[in-house]
């Protein structure tokens, strides 16, 4: 019983910072899935940036070869070491990079965006809705 009581105390104590994080944490998640997550942008916003954006396709090579956003560069986690130098050849410092994967349900774009940031590539954004969002607007 001691263990259970102590565990309940710990859970209770953890509620307090969790509550504050939900209200004030600068990187708190959005309650609605429709809301933009940090670093995410809608297609309309990205299009408003003009042609200076460098699109990064985080899907598989097969999907990229089938169809992709014009001038997009392929960069996925599976072939990162081979593809990253080609990305660097295309990217100009401070050029906005927008990463996309298949749809709302995929998260590869977030992982690629995260790895780009860790390689000092900034600014990097993720396209909300990914390829499906792009395709639906064509």
């Amino acid at each position: 019983m001691t263990a259970v009581r102590q565990a309940l105390w710990i859970l209770l104590i953890a509620l307090l910072p969790a509550f504050f994080a939900s209200a004030f944490h600068p990187k708190r998640p959005a309650w609605s899935e429709d809301a933009l997550k940090p670093g995410e942008e809608r297609l309309g916003t990205v299009q408003s940036w003009g042609d200076s954006v460098l699109w990064v396709d985080a899907r598989s090579r097969k999907e990229f070869d089938t169809e992709h956003i014009p001038n997009a560069v392929l960069l996925n986690l599976e072939e990162w070491d081979q593809l990253f130098p080609a990305f660097l050849d295309r990217w100009q410092p401070n050029q906005k990079v927008v990463v996309y994967c298949s749809s709302l349900a995929c998260h590869m774009s977030e992982e690629v965006a995260d790895r780009l940031k860790r390689n000092s590539v900034e600014p990097v954004y993720v396209l909300k809705g990914g390829w499906e969002a792009w395709k639906s607007k064509q």
Binding site: I10, P17, K27, H107, D114
Partner: protein
């Protein structure tokens, strides 16, 4: 300090320390952690958000408690429950063919494959098991692991 006491202290410090670090990395970026949870496709988004806000702090306080030997039995209970829950989630991801990062340490370390995360969990469960065995035996509970 005798060898069994030293081993118990090592188990407690490693287990508590790892949970403390894991909790801090997740608490630093709950939005990213919510996405990691969402990758498992087990809960609706609101559930992912709630867990992303609450779980890191449970890990931090449970890790701290075990590390500092305060409320250590409750901490061990929570850590054991979390290890089991995480392992079930990882196994379910394998069964459903999901190719995802485990999200165990937030984004502090490079994406970790599920198999490696499961192996690490198994190792941590052994440490927790050692502490449980000595605690349940009563004669050498974690509480007295560092006794003079």
């Amino acid at each position: 300090m005798r060898f069994p006491d030293l081993a118990l202290t090592a188990c407690r410090v490693i287990l508590g320390g790892l949970f403390l670090i894991a909790g801090v990395t997740k608490a630093y970026d709950p939005a990213a952690f919510a996405t990691e949870i969402q990758n498992y496709q087990l809960l609706p988004w609101v559930g992912d958000v709630l867990l992303s806000l609450f779980l890191p702090w449970v890990e931090i306080f449970a890790g701290c408690a075990l590390f500092l030997k305060r409320f250590e039995r409750g901490a061990l209970l929570l850590i054991s429950a979390m290890l089991i829950a995480y392992s079930v989630a990882l196994i379910s991801a394998i069964v459903r063919g999901l190719n995802i990062d485990c999200g165990c340490f937030g984004r502090l370390i490079s994406p970790t494959g599920i198999a490696w995360a499961l192996a690490r969990n198994a190792g941590l469960m052994i440490l927790a098991g050692v502490l449980w065995i000595f605690w349940l035996r009563g004669s050498r509970a974690p509480r007295i692991a560092d006794s003079k």
